[in-house]
Amino acid sequence: MINLKGIKKSFNKSEVLKGINLKIEKGEVVTILGPSGSGKTTLLRCLNFLEKPDGGMVQIGNIKVDTEKATKKEMLTIRKQSAMVFQHYNLFAHKTVLQNVMEGLIVAKRVKKKDARYRSELVLEKVGLKDKLHHYPSQLSGGQQQRVGIARALALNPEVILFDEPTSALDPELVGEVLSVIKTIAKEGITMVVVTHEMSFAREVSDRVLFMDGGVIVEEGTPLEIFHAPKEERTRRFLQRISGDSFFPPLKERVN
């Protein structure tokens, strides 16, 4: 379970997160939509303390931290509760696919090398990269690299996996393979927070959709509610802009 209370973050006096409150149940898949610059990335980064929030409370699993008083040790502990998949993959360039996945297990979780290897091969098989174990990231396509990124997160068996626009750096024809891997693990009951612009993916996979704008969560609801009956004008305008007018017909028409 994740619980955020009053998360605030400013950069150079401009407030990027204006007190975010958010509760996520175990096994829930939450997607975050919103225009560029609305604070989606910052919110994810505050969740695992890649960015230190200016105020508020972060709880992941049993670990609860008051961000204003957080010590380095607390930040590390809470960071170990989560894993992250980055927009630009951020694989370790000097390590092979297998080593990329094993690294966190061996170094941060102190898993024995043999066990780490076994577990890593298992998750790499799950993301369809069993035949690339000893390749370097530079030898892989973007889609394959991102699947390594997902395997690296998955291997840690975290409370939650944070995805920051996992497909937006990919060529269009590679988006599908990555989304289908994410869908597969979503079905396995892993808690996920996904920032994405892939609307049909969000609609299909989410238990809940959040719409963020200007550093606040403007609206949240089930995919059906957000995509077909948004309450807020801002949400409606955003959805229209991003998908064209015809893509999401009003609910009534669809039923007919």
Binding site: N48, L50, L76, R79, K80, S82, A83, M84, F86, H88, N90, L91, F92, A93, H94, K95, T96, E103, G104, V107, A108, K109, H134, H135, Y136, P137, S138, Q139, R152, A153, L156
Partner: protein, 236 residues
């Protein structure tokens, strides 16, 4: 004046006997300088309190002044310092018994440390912050992320710069002959003045330096190819 070509070979055979000194004067400062440079680079990157200003001052001074000056100041300055301390506390240290090479090594190591810290620092900066954040995101500490993810790549990327510095220091070690250290150039000077064949002796010394440089560059090329193979696409 004519040139005595066969004497070049004679001089070569004599001069090359001093190769070990030149190698010591190159390798030892670079090895010690590497440790200094790594420490200083990390202090500057992490902006460690108090040490940060000292590290900046050190790099600025040693890169901002010629190496020959470091050698001279240390060669004349340290004995003076030791003599003063020694007489004050009745330690009875005789500074003229300290081998000259020690002063030269200290001076060259300090200079190498300053240059190497800049090379290592720029190597560290050129590794993407994304990888550092990924390392944090899998739960590594600052120290683990630096030593397991960033530094190996930073050092691999720095090989061409290390090579340049190595060659530079190989040649710089020649100024040790000014304080009568008998390395390659010092040996050439002796051969030249005892036989009054300056041109031949220094040509011979030049050949030794050039040969060494070509060898170093070759080794560096192979090494770089090997350790940065990860960054080239294609099948492994």
């Amino acid at each position: 004046m004519t040139i005595d070509i066969p004497f070049i070979w004679t001089a070569f055979k004599e001069i090359i006997k001093s190769l070990p000194i030149t190698l010591i004067l190159t390798l030892v400062p670079l090895a010690i300088g590497f440790l200094i440079g790594l420490t200083v680079a990390l202090v500057r990157i992490y902006k460690t309190r108090f040490l940060y200003q000292a590290a900046n001052g050190y790099v600025s001074f040693f890169r901002g002044t010629p190496i020959i000056m470091h050698i001279m100041v240390i060669y004349y300055g340290i004995p003076l310092l030791i003599d003063q301390v020694s007489s004050k506390f009745d330690l009875n240290i005789q500074t003229n018994k300290i081998p000259i090479i020690l002063f030269v090594l200290i001076a060259l190591s300090l200079a190498a440390g300053a240059y190497l810290s800049e090379i290592i620092r720029s190597g560290i900066i050129s590794v993407s912050t994304g990888q550092l954040e990924a390392a944090y995101s899998v739960g590594m500490t600052k120290y683990q992320a630096m030593f397991r993810i960033v530094l190996p790549q930073a050092l691999a990327l720095s090989i061409p710069n290390f090579t340049n510095l190595f060659v530079g220091f190989l040649h710089t070690s020649s100024i040790a002959f000014l304080v009568s250290e008998k390395e390659l150039t010092g040996a050439a000077n002796i051969v030249a003045s005892t036989n009054l064949k300056f041109l031949e002796a220094f040509i011979a010394a030049g050949i030794v330096y050039w040969g060494l440089t070509i060898m170093v560059e070759g080794i560096s090329f192979l090494l770089e190819k090997k350790v940065t193979s990860y960054s080239r696409g294609g099948v492994s």
